[in-house]
Amino acid sequence: MTYLAKPRLHHPTLEINKVGYTRRDYEGKISTLCAGCGHDSISAAIVQACWQMDIEPHRVAKLSGIGCSSKTPDYFLGASHGFNTVHGRMPSVLTGANLANRELLYLGVSGDGDSASIGLGQFAHSMRRGVRMVYIVENNGVYGLTKGQFSATADRGSKSKKGVVNADNPIDMVALALQLGATYVARGFSGDKAQLVPLIEGAIRHAGAAFIDVVSPCVAFNNHEGSTKSYDYVRQHNEAVSRIDFIDLAQPTEASPAPGESIDLPQPDGRVMRLRKLRADHDPTNRLAAMALVQELAHEGEVATGLIYVEPEATDLHRALNTVATPLNRLDEKSLCPGEAVLAKVNAGLR
């Protein structure tokens, strides 16, 4: 009930992370989304991931487009600056913000309406450009905020709440991301937090653009019989291709899995991502194989979830531009202005 203010006091037994925060410190305002909305689970997963990674909330910038999913940044990380931009244009604003200050963590939250229709171009170019960010699409196959129109990710043949059948082919954002050279491509499900939280953690650690397509059922408009993005449908057709954990190899706490069943991927911060394969034919470091697998599974009517592809040594736009370590928004006249003497030389060269 959103008219109730959230109580500020924390339970004394709530665990504190390494930077002194409880999980409550990573929350935002009370959600105004429908009860049971998948997006709220994703927000919870973001909160969980940030808390357990000891991220300082104020060092995160949250950006979104327009739509139900784009409202969610208000509901997590209340101590972070947020920017609800315009429909389909979150990637460009995030890119500019990132260029201004490379030290922050940039979370871009969008929906399938926002990123697969009007925003398709900016999504594609942000993948190409490799801006360091966590790009989460909260995918429910409909335009929720405007009351239930099909989005571009709705499957052909799926039915709207009013019984209209979708005649258009769907856009598979995971397949597109792979095609465009994205270096971290995953799909989650709002109903499987155990899978989703490590995916978000991996995305946060990733040095380039990390994309997660999260199927997130819309209980108001797309959770009925005939929808391929309902809780029931996804649960019945979920093909998880991997599970990931983050470990310190120096301190093994459990028996290592048998060879061939997992891959250890070193992370930029020194930790290791251990990826357990749930399908023998899945090699998450082989882009072509990942592309083929995604297509095959889609053809069978299955939803591939998990970490589908990753390039651990990915680079980002700042490295490509060779920008200074000091954030651009902190540089002053001494660093930026060539000065009077130089200008006199410039003038001399123009006579």
Binding site: G82, G96, L99, Q122
Partner: protein, 619 residues
């Protein structure tokens, strides 16, 4: 046969095929005259194409220092067979037609009332050079040499220019000098019986002025002004702003120890992404700008509205071209005033800066970045193709090393810890400008949500009427504050008292200067005000009030500046007389003075009906 005789006061037009290497030769011609101390103003007239189509380079030489386009051609260097007929037609009677006489041409191709000078340039080049590219390139240098000989341009000056251009490239230097002398010698030996009445004589009328195009100047101004993020999309005629910014940054903005870049330039996938990146960077505290033209601004309007309403610093350089729609991509106009001043749906008003030349492009680019930060709003730098893509003589750039960037009202962590209240959209200082915080300032204070939707003064979402009204009224108050911060208008008073005035701005100015002189000679003195920004300072309303009629001179069809004046200052339409030039060519003094003279004479013959002296035309 009449012969035009003029010293240091004539117009030479070169007609070439673009992509033939003529541009640098023609520029050499112009620069040589400049180095002799005589002001020139060259203009490129180029097609919307890369290679093979006609291109013209029109050089006005004016000892008096008139830099506007004159109209009327005294000498045509006709190197493009494709445009021969129109080029010959354009010559003034008694003028000079200089052409490549290698191939014989029918007599009907020539005019009997112009002086024709033929030089077999292709034949000479083919005899001297075997490489086809050299044959093409040196043909241009050949005619520069011949013209130098015919018109009294000092070859030593041209050779000095070569030595600067080809520093370290001895072979190129030698071959260019050789081609130059080939032309000089030919003219001396074979064209002595074709004297040319257009002569250049050394003077000292250039002073310490510099010669540079407006787009490069704006880019340098952005460097000096502290821009760190530039996101852009190529479009004629603004691409060279970003290209110049890139090259100045490479020279001046790399860390001397690490070689790392103190800037980020992204060529975005379109104008929407460009302005999106600029908005994100501005939101996050970096000075950011984009450069575009009319069609790009149209695409950007949604973001401009967001930046306006969410109050984010954003700088947009609009190098205007012929509109509407794709319009005339390679012609000039001042036709985006309304679409920029009121960009985006809903009630909006934006700051416009109106530079007249490259010097002001430099100054105003730096000012724009300061104003955007101080006012927390979009600021447009409105130049045009005429200023942007032509080299213009202007005062040298100036910068004071004591100058500090005005980063505007940004709360620091210390401010927040000291208990300063943070209300993102509240007026606390009486100027309508609130305080903002940047991301990552403080662990627990100062975070807020930026949106394009309405809010209360504390940035909380609100649909309450009073909150909305407070917000938009404060934005008007902010715009009013801007009036005293933007560059003020400059007035040039007539030598005697007059009831007539003129208002103009931007690239109209060199022709206006000349027109005012012509009008004085013709018995019509005018007080003239050059606008340098929008919103209008008080002086503008006062100026209009002090005159019975004010001519508003501009380069668009619908009198857009006149519209802004009427709309913002409540001026009686009858008081503002539109003088409109909009065929895509730069406006001339002749046009302005003829149009004004016509109006004034018509008034004398048939005066307007008596009007009550209106004292409350100005708010």
């Amino acid at each position: 046969m009449k012969r035009i005789e003029a010293t240091n006061d004539f117009v030479v037009k070169f007609a070439n095929v673009n992509g033939s290497g003529s541009a640098s030769a023609n520029e050499l011609f112009a620069k040589a005259i400049l180095r002799m101390g005589v002001p020139v103003s060259p203009r490129n007239i180029f097609p919307s194409n890369i290679q093979g189509l006609p291109t013209w380079y029109e050089v006005r030489v004016s000892e008096r220092g008139w830099l506007g386009r004159r109209a009327g051609i005294d000498m045509m260097v006709a190197m493009n067979p494709q445009t021969w007929d129109q080029d010959v037609r354009e010559l003034e009677p008694g003028g000079y037609l200089f052409y490549d006489s290698t191939k014989p041409m029918p007599e009907s191709a020539f005019r009997s009332d112009v002086n024709t000078i033929g030089m077999p340039m292709t034949a000479i080049c083919n005899a001297t050079y075997s490489d086809p590219r050299q044959r093409q390139l040196f043909k241009n240098i050949l005619y520069v040499g011949a013209l130098a000989q015919l018109m009294g341009i000092d070859p030593a000056v041209i050779e000095k220019l070569f030595s600067e251009q080809y520093k370290g490239k001895e072979k190129l230097l030698a071959s260019n000098v050789q081609a130059l002398h080939l032309g000089i010698d030919f003219a001396r030996e074979h064209l002595a019986n074709h004297p040319v009445g257009l002569q250049v004589i050394k003077r000292d009328r250039v002073g310490n002025r510099i010669f540079i195009d407006g787009n490069s100047a704006a880019a340098l101004g952005a460097v000096y002004g502290g821009a760190t993020v530039c996101a852009w999309y190529p479009i004629t005629p603004s691409s060279s702003v970003a290209e110049a910014f890139t090259s100045y940054c490479r020279k001046f903005r790399h860390d001397p120890d690490t070689g790392e870049a103190r800037y980020a330039i992204v060529q975005a996938e379109d104008e929407i992404a460009s302005i999106g990146m600029v908005t994100g960077a501005g939101w996050n505290g970096a000075r950011a700008f984009t450069a575009t033209s009319g069609p790009g601004v149209s695409l950007m309007t949604e973001f401009i509205g967001l930046a306006y309403f969410a109050e984010i610093p954003v700088t947009i350089i609009n190098v205007q071209r012929g509109g509407p729609s794709t319009g005339m991509p390679t012609r000039t106009q001042q036709a985006d005033l309304i679409s920029c001043a009121y960009a985006s749906h809903g009630d909006t008003k934006h700051v416009l800066l109106l530079p007249e030349d490259p010097k002001e492009c430099f100054d105003h680019a730096a000012i724009a970045l300061d104003l955007a930060d101080r006012l927390q709003t979009p600021v447009f730098l409105m130049t045009d193709l005429d200023i942007g893509m032509n080299q213009r003589l202007c005062e040298p750039f100036e910068w004071n090393d004591d100058r500090r960037y005005d980063r505007g009202k940004v709360l620091s962590a210390a401010d927040l810890d000291a208990g300063r209240e943070f209300a993102r959209y509240k007026d606390v200082d009486g100027d309508g400008i609130p305080w903002r915080t940047l991301p990552a300032t403080h662990e627990s204070k100062g975070a807020y949500f930026t949106r394009g939707t309405t809010r209360d003064p504390y940035a909380r979402y609100s649909e309450a009427g009073p909150d909305y009204v407070y917000n938009v009224k404060r934005l008007l108050q902010k715009f009013d504050t801007a009036r005293s911060m933007v560059p003020f208008p400059i007035v040039r008073k007539a030598p005697r008292k007059t009831r007539l005035g003129a208002i103009y701005f931007g690239s109209t100015s060199p022709s206006m200067d000349e027109a005012l002189d012509l009008l004085i000679t013709g018995g019509i003195p005018l007080d003239a005000m050059r606008l340098r920004a929008f919103p209008f300072a008080d002086a503008v309303a006062e100026f209009i009030d002090a005159h019975e009629e004010v001519f508003v001179v501009e380069q668009n069809r619908d009198g857009q500046m006149r519209t802004l004046l009427m709309n913002e200052l409540n001026v009686d339409p009858m008081k503002l007389v539109p003088i409109l030039h909009y065929d895509g060519t730069p406006i001339t003094a002749r046009f302005i003075s003829q149009a004004i003279t016509k109006h004034v004479h018509a008034e004398i013959v048939e005066p307007k009906a008596e009007k009550k002296a209106s004292k409350e035309t100005v708010k």
